[in-house]
């Protein structure tokens, strides 16, 4: 049996009485590629925020790489190898593109020499196709490039698990393929990936397993083809 790298049990989150997440169970195996889908406002991002420590769940527990991280602060989760991107890109706008990448290299990985950090940052920038933009301000980047920067900053943390929150929204078909190829490469290197995505073509191509969240509850979890044929999933997506 393959070991679990990330396991959430009974994760519940309420905002002033509104149940954003109701007892969600979720597992990610080592080296696995999982797609998380659900309509807008179904609680996907809230779930990611609970996993990464941006929000504290009201109930439930999260185990990462054998440790209970339910109460671990976000920065420590990042250091331990749980990285994420943000749905709406959140670059450090006062820094250059390369300096953005250097923050996790310094803080999450713990590199100390400026030379090592700079070299590692350039490798990552080339990997995500931003090598030419290293000295630019993020203000000069396009939406696509900003998403690549998000991905690059998450990669710089040398994660064991990468949570990609809608990194492909607004991208052209060829750009989606480009990102998918990158994610597949990373996965081949051993990083487990949770992909939150609306572009179904990408999810179906990428995911080995699909989890569906609707109105804060998990309604399906299984092989992509089987999940997509499930009646309640169809209903949630296409209506009655």
């Amino acid at each position: 049996m393959i070991a679990k790298i990330l396991e959430a049990t009974g994760v519940t989150k309420r905002f002033d009485g509104f149940a954003a997440l109701t007892s969600v169970d979720f597992t990610l195996l080592k080296g696995e590629r999982v797609g998380l889908i659900g309509p807008n406002g179904s609680g996907k991002s809230t779930f990611v925020n609970c996993l990464t420590g941006i929000l504290a769940p009201d109930d439930g527990s999260i185990i990462f790489d054998g440790n209970d991280i339910t109460k671990t602060p976000a920065w420590l989760r990042a250091r331990r190898g749980l990285a994420r991107t943000y749905q709406i890109p959140r670059p450090f706008r006062g820094m250059t593109v390369q300096e953005n990448i250097e923050v996790p290299l310094r803080f999450a990985v713990g590199h100390t020499s400026a030379g090592t950090i700079s070299e590692a940052a350039q490798v990552i920038l080339d990997q995500v196709g931003l090598g030419e933009k290293a000295d630019l301000s993020p203000k000069g980047l396009t939406q696509v490039e900003l998403r690549k920067l998000e991905l690059g900053r998450a990669l710089a943390a040398q994660p064991k698990v990468l949570i990609a929150d809608e990194v492909m929204a607004g991208l052209s078909e060829s750009e989606v393929d480009e990102i998918l190829a990158l994610l597949n490469r990373l996965n081949a290197e051993g990083i487990s990936i949770l992909l939150i995505e609306h572009i179904m073509r990408a999810v179906m191509l990428f995911a080995q397993r699909i989890v569906v969240i609707v109105a804060g509850s998990k309604i399906a979890d299984g092989l992509p083809d089987e999940v997509m044929q499930q009646e309640d999933v169809e209903r949630a997506y296409l209506g009655e």
């Binding site: 420590l76 990042a78 020499s113």
Partner: protein, 333 residues
């Protein structure tokens, strides 16, 4: 949240950025030259010039201290006067119960204001943006109310402080105060420069830009902010400690004065908040302008010029003098 046992690699601190120590040395050298100049000038210049210089130096310290949290980390502290007053009243209290040389009083003031900084930071730094600023303003008001009602330190009446005799190497107490404040200003600027270039400064810059993104990049934001409030508070307290000897009469209205809080924000904003030299430039610029206006027009014009310059800079040059210089340099390239 910090109750967790940390394994060795998690405790590993990222090291400072290397290869820039020349700037630090330059700051110290300039400071030594200025100190020597002050000693040589001796009684060749009038007492007024010493007192005016002292005020400007005091604001270099306050602006620099404010900038560590406000400029680098983006957390605007409205309570500078509170920390400054902690320094003042530490001196007054020590004078009453356990008199000691001013230098030691400054160290005690640093410790007291630093602890208050750490404490308020812990209580308020979970608040973001304007809520944090309001909390710091509240802190200053609470402290002022406390002092006003505490007759041991003079209460609302205020208290007189007698200057001790000055060592023979100084021509006057005013000269001694300038030398002392110059030393503190150099220290504060070197600290700010070191913070800016170190992992603390890089982490604070990430927090200023986007705190959640910083956290997910491994930046321990609460810890860094607490380091910043402690250092910032301690430096403000140190700036306040010699103040009773400067004015010789302290009352809460002076120690907690509006001018202190406003100037400590205005000077870094006018100079530029992103670098260590911004607050220095801002303090020299605004501080000198205030002194000149006070003697040529009236002392009431003093805060007026701060207001005008602040409006001009915020609208025309939001990055301050630092931003103007950088833009000019880029233009030449």
């Amino acid at each position: 949240m910090s109750g967790q046992a940390l394994s060795a690699p998690e405790l590993r601190k990222p090291a400072p950025v290397s290869g820039r120590s020349r700037t630090g040395l330059a700051i110290v050298l300039i400071g030594v030259v200025l100190l020597a100049a002050t000693m040589v000038l001796g009684s060749h210049i009038g007492e007024y010039y010493y007192l005016a210089t002292y005020t400007i130096l005091q604001f270099i310290v306050l602006g620099t201290a404010w900038n560590i949290l406000g400029g680098y980390g983006g957390y605007v502290n409205f309570g500078t006067a509170g920390f400054f007053a902690i320094g003042c009243y530490t001196t007054i209290i020590l004078n009453k119960i356990f008199p000691m040389p001013l230098l030691f009083e400054m160290l005690v003031a640093a410790a007291t204001a630093g602890v208050v900084g750490l404490g308020t930071g812990y209580l308020t730094l979970r608040l973001r943006g304007v809520f944090f600023s309001i909390a710091t303003l509240a802190l200053a008001i609470v402290l002022q109310t406390l002092i006003v009602n505490w007759s041991f330190v003079g209460g609302a009446r205020g208290v007189y402080v007698i200057r001790p005799a000055v060592s023979g190497i100084f021509v006057s107490y005013a000269q001694f105060l300038v030398v002392l404040m110059l030393g503190l200003a150099i220290f504060a600027v070197v600290v700010a420069w070191a913070v800016e270039k170190s992992w603390i400064g890089i982490g604070l810059a990430a927090i200023r830009d986007d705190e959640a993104a910083a956290e997910t990049s491994g930046v321990p934001s609460l810890r860094l902010k607490l380091i910043a409030t402690t250092m910032s508070g301690a430096l403000m307290g140190m700036a306040g400690a010699p103040f009773p000897y400067y004015v010789t009469y302290v009352d809460p209205a002076t120690a907690f004065g509006l001018a202190i809080a406003v100037n400590s924000i205005a000077m870094p904003l006018v100079g530029g908040t992103a670098t260590w030299w911004g607050p220095v430039v801002g303090a020299i610029l605004l501080g000198s302008a205030q002194q000149i206006l006070t003697v040529t027009i009236s002392s009431a014009a003093n805060l007026f010029i701060v207001g005008v310059l602040l409006v001009v800079f915020v609208t025309v040059a939001p990055r301050g003098v630092v931003g103007i210089v950088r833009g000019w340099k880029r233009g030449r390239k």
